[in-house]
Subunit: 357 residues, 2 copies
């Protein structure tokens, strides 16, 4: 069967032939529908993040998948059920996380592998297998956009942790600032702007008008902030202090300047995965402001099965026009290259299609 | 009556004469027993933190007080009840915090004053007045050590927020590292080492043996780590990754290096209030580790009435020898100077006594 993979030593995805997998006991065989592409895939291609399965010369890409159960095998799933796979699996060499971290999304990195990212093949193939407990059923009518479930889980988890960090007092947030107008930033801006929690939503980018993403931010009733005009550290004064700042850029300075944008008793959620980068900060001032402002920071990666279930509900309530505007391209797996193009201003969220929905 | 105050332009505490206060409606008059001295007082004396009441040429010092109700006035308190005052009051110019922050300890700094620290006179006087709602009754038998309630509240709140930040999953912490062996660091080490939450406690300092504080750490069954031998960023490898890192130094580098000592899914609590200090960090690496490690950071200042009640219970359960070892000096208010000496290796926690218990 066809798969889209990265070969060791290369930096572009290629189409390869690989045997159609046979499900083991406890696993189902899934016919892949669509697999989304995101910043993590680009980092994996660049060799900045993740890694190959041990002993293999390639990594099958893709972690934002939706498919249909083709063969339930000995699981309780039914043929034809639409499913989204979770990404993390226990490390195959049997390394175990501390007992209290058996929720895989909270486990130390060296005790897990991540399908399509680090140490295990992903879902960009005509078929994949997975243990039943790592497959989340979703409604049939979300099959075509089911590849958005996984990126939504990232925000579901980050927000859950951010809210938890403020649960020792009566926190009533109003404002949220999303740093980044990439696919995750826009999806999150849409979640916040159309959800119940925040009444005042901002999204930061650095694009010139006219621009698809700025149009989308403004259509959502959110405020676009141009980073070149208003640096992150000045947003609090120029607009308002933000109860939640959500960083989806991977730009490490934002992880520190972002604290200046956080209101007293607010929280900064970090999502990006930057490479090493030394720079100067006013560490004394940031430390002091974090303390005197009762501010919190939560780093968040991956998501648990509960977040997948919440993400399905979120996807179901997002307005159709948001999805239509967000998903700018679905490429057939026989010509997947356009889905990996990142410097196209007409492109927001892309996916690769393996079987028609 | 006598009071201990700081005059504008000076940096040492002096004894002044000031009128005995008269309680207003809703206020009680409290006969001061003892008032503790801590790092914040030293910062206030240095002019690094806090400020004078508007229009006044001096600030009555002291925020860690215990006293006895001398005149309940029209409150429901009873004469002779031992009380500990909270520190924050609404800003007298009527600035209001956002509605959701009417818990004073979570309010923005510019909407409150802090007695003995910023904008309002403290408790280092023979008598003070306070509204009833800012006075927390404590058992009579804690009267002599009641000045320890307020510093304990600082840790009660910080730990409550740290635990809250990990409440979105099944967090089962084992290890805690306290950065700093000053009075707050030692008190916190004692709370952790004698409490239920942590089974493995560490305390970091930079003192040579033999030393009172190292002896105390080890008597508590905790492990002393010398910062000069094992920098904070190496503690994780040299000892173990820590589920909770509690920073009580005000040394801003620890606020960033401390993240390296935090275990995956752990939390760093920041308590110190440093002055500005620019320095270089590997911001990319710290950002990445925070995300991939699902780490949290909580800044925490001041405490609410609930934390005072929790602190009373904590103080009551601390072993007597801990208190005896910790409180190295109580000076009469007529000769308070020794209580403010910070460079004496024989001194840990000190207080000024205004009336005999």
């Amino acid at each position: 069967m066809d798969a889209i993979a990265l070969r060791r030593g290369e930096h572009t995805p290629i189409r390869i032939q690989t045997p159609k997998p046979t499900p083991k006991s406890g696993e189902a065989l899934v016919r892949t529908l669509r697999v989304g592409v995101d910043g993590t895939d680009i980092e994996v291609l660049a060799g900045e993040h993740g890694g190959f399965p041990p002993g293999e010369d390639h990594l099958v890409l893709g972690h934002e998948a939706v498919g249909i159960v083709a063969n339930p095998n000995d699981t309780d799933l039914e043929e034809g059920t639409v499913v989204v796979p979770t990404i993390r699996r226990p490390h195959p060499d049997g390394r175990t996380a501390p007992q209290h971290l058996d929720q895989l999304d909270m486990a130390p990195m060296d005790t897990v592998v991540e399908r399509g990212i680090a140490g295990a093949h992903g879902f960009m193939a005509e078929y994949f297998t997975s243990e039943e407990k790592y497959l989340v059923p979703i409604p049939d009518d979300l099959a075509d956009v089911g590849f958005l479930v996984e990126p939504i889980t990232i925000t579901e988890k980050a927000v859950e942790h951010a809210v938890a960090s403020r649960s020792a007092f009566d926190w009533r947030p109003e404002s949220a600032l999303v740093l980044g107008n990439g696919p995750l930033g826009l999806l999150t801006t849409a979640m916040f702007a159309t959800g119940e929690r925040f009444s005042d939503v901002y999204c930061l980018g650095r694009r010139d008008r006219p621009d698809l993403t700025i149009d989308m931010v403004e259509s959502l009733g959110a405020t676009y902030i141009d980073y070149r005009e208003t640096p992150v550290s000045e947003i609090s004064a120029a607009h308002r202090p933000m109860d939640l700042v959500y960083e989806a850029t991977g730009y490490a300075r934002h992880a520190f300047d972002g604290l200046d944008a956080v209101a007293p008793a607010g929280v900064l959620a970090l999502l990006g995965v930057p490479t090493d980068w030394p720079f100067e900060i006013d560490g004394g001032r940031l430390h002091r402001e974090a303390v005197l402002g009762n501010k919190a920071v939560v780093g968040s990666v991956n998501a648990d099965r509960n977040h997948f279930r919440a993400a399905v509900r979120t996807l179901d309530r997002l307005p159709a026009w948001v999805i239509d505007d967000l998903v700018t391209g679905v490429s057939p797996h026989t010509d997947a290259e356009p889905a990996f193009v990142t410097d196209d201003d007409a492109s927001i969220k892309t996916a690769v299609e393996f079987h028609r929905v």
